[in-house]
Amino acid sequence: MLVSQIVVNGILLGGLYACMAMGFSLIWGVMNLINLAHGTMMLTGAYVTYVLWTRFGIDPILSIPFSAATLFVFGYLLQRYVINRVVLRSIFFTLILTFGLDMLLINFNIVLFTADVRSITTWYSGLALDFWGIRIAYTRLLVFVLALLITLALHQFLRWSRTGRAIRATAQDPTAARVMGVDTAKIYAVTFGLGSAMAGATGSLIAIVYAFSPVIGDAFTLKSFAIVILGGLGNMFGALVAGIFLGVTENLVSGFGEPGYRDAVSFLLLVAILVLRPTGFLGRRSYGVARA
């Protein structure tokens, strides 16, 4: 009974992980850029939700568009005016730049919201569904469904919309895309904005279920990386499977082993996958070639 409870919680967490990793993977796949600030940008989204809830009483679920929009604007401007200047240079510079951004954002979050651990308690926070003895909190179920919907929405957007097609074309071959009349500079900014918006939306979801503080972002960034490698770059289904796998494994380790090793699971997975099978297990890349 305990095992099934742990597994169910792991699966529900996995949906959140998949949503988080999709934004990271979009930026990486299209621009060949690792955004080391992804986890902290996500927390900024969580704080948007927190502020809207405490100051204006807006329900966390309704605040998702706000956090996504805030982060979209932030990401768009950031790419256009800052990241674009180093994107063609050696990866030393992009890694350093996004790490600097990460520090700046952490400090910004600490100054604005203090380093205290925050959580949101709504009227439905404590309610749970009893499913043959397995207790499923409504918030977790809700967050899982929302995470899936957001991920699916991004996928459909990339697949069917005009902008989405331009993004995929740019990922495959920037020169050919330019020849075909795609404004690639703008597409890069939109892509970074979309990836950031995904981070913001995931942040809102995290705020609904978990307690958070400004300094926990980096672990999420590394988890995103592990999921993307495990599931394949730009592969939505892969991200979902990998996210659920990570969520379940983490919960099993902290449930039956040492809770202190919880985060170590994803780091071990990360190193092990990279050593054993750097191309991932679930194959197909849908944004085009990653130039490693």
């Binding site: 990486w28 060949n32 690792i34 800052v82 200047r85 180093v86 990866i91 030393f92 510079f93 992009t94 890694l95 350093i96 730049l97 790490f99 600097g100 951004l101 990460d102 520090m103 700046l104 954002l105 952490i106 400090n107 910004f108 600490i110 100054v111 980096d218 672990a219 590394l222 990386f225 592990a226 490698i229 040492e258 202190g260 090793y261 985060d263 170590a264 780091f267 071990l268 990360l270 190193v271 990279l274 050593v275 750097p278 490693a292």
Partner: protein, 343 residues
């Protein structure tokens, strides 16, 4: 019958880049003994506070030089190199606290453990390139940090380990650690200087520029990369051991701290990749800047440092040595012009 003098292909007073670089290099190398003398005499002039700053600068210069070996010469962005710093610090501390060994033995072990770690993991991890390698090393650092955090009986866990205090008075202690760190720095510079002109160094740069071609030329790339990373790890581990005894208290979050890695990486970038003197100049500059900021803006230190890193990434094209090389070009043409007018 005399042939007409051929037209020179370029204006005679415009120096060729290689000559200019050599002139700049000469100037920098001439400054080196002066700098060394200043560093050796510094403890007799500076107070304890500034000695500490200077010692930190030596420490970071060594760490940056270690990054330079693997990232600058070989092109592998070992972002998580700080893992060897932590391993070194903990190896030395465990030897001294749990096994009752001396500090010298601790330093030896702190070099050997990172060495064997690289020999074990290097060949597998060094197959990865670019982002994959960078993130794999960060993952390794976080993994080892989590292990150290949870192996309480051996490492003290999150409580950390207290290392016995050195038996000397405060002034003497400061000097001992300063000279120890300075000696490590000089050793690392010597290795970098040797690497620059050795077969191994040329092989490294061949790998950095095109690994497939290097392999096709018959270079044993995996072995070369592993050796260079091992040297880098050994220096990093040694510095970690000195740090542990110097600070006499270590815990996982202060020794496996990615900020240390980033700072040494930034120093390496500011100094310019694959140069010998660059990281030293940059370390003293960054450490001075960091100290000034630290004492002034405690609440915003992290953010200001982050902003500084971003500006460096945006506006530092090739590091300080390149800056001096360009100035060297001016200097060179000035000297040449003197020659021309004299002759």
């Amino acid at each position: 019958m005399a042939l007409p003098e051929p037209e020179p292909a370029f204006a005679t007073d415009a120096p060729r880049p290689a000559d200019a670089a050599r002139t700049a290099a000469k100037v920098l190398w001439l400054l080196l003994p002066v700098g060394l003398a200043l560093l050796l005499l510094a403890p007799f002039q500076l107070n304890l506070y500034w000695m500490r700053v200077l010692s930190m600068a030596c420490m970071y210069a060594t760490l940056a030089q270690a990054i330079n070996l693997i990232a600058g010469f070989t092109g592998y962005p070992a972002f998580g190199n700080v893992v060897f710093f932590g391993i070194g610090a903990y190896s030395a501390a465990i030897i001294m606290v749990k096994a009752g060994g001396s500090f010298v033995l601790g330093m030896v072990i702190a070099v050997l453990v990172p060495l064997s770690t690289v020999l074990l993991l290097g060949p597998a991890l060094l197959r990865l390139r670019g982002h994959y390698f960078a993130i794999a090393t960060i993952g390794l650092n976080e993994l080892v940090k989590a292990l150290v955090d949870n192996l309480g009986p051996l490492t003290g866990g999150g409580m950390g380990l207290s290392v016995p205090l050195p038996p000397w008075g405060p002034v003497q202690t400061t000097r001992v650690f300063y000279y120890l760190l300075l000696a490590t720095l000089i050793a690392s510079v010597a290795v970098a200087a040797w690497l620059r002109f050795s077969r191994l160094g040329y092989a490294c740069r061949a790998i950095r520029d095109d690994e497939v071609k290097a392999e096709a030329m018959g270079l044993r790339t995996t072995m070369i990369k592993t050796i260079v990373w091992a040297i880098s790890a050994m220096f990093t581990g040694l510095v970690g051991a000195i740090y542990a005894y110097w600070f006499s208290y270590i815990d996982p979050s202060s020794t496996f701290d990615l900020l240390i890695a980033i700072k040494s990486f930034v120093i390496f970038l500011v100094g310019g990749a694959a140069t010998v003197v660059g990281p030293i100049v940059a370390a003293f500059f960054i450490e001075y800047l960091s100290t000034v900021l630290w004492s002034q803006l405690l609440d915003y230190h992290l953010g200001i440092f982050g902003l500084g890193i971003m500006l460096i990434a945006l506006y530092t094209p090739d590091g300080v040595v390149q800056f001096f090389r360009e100035r060297g070009q001016v200097l060179h043409s000035f000297i040449r012009r003197q020659d021309i007018t004299a002759g």
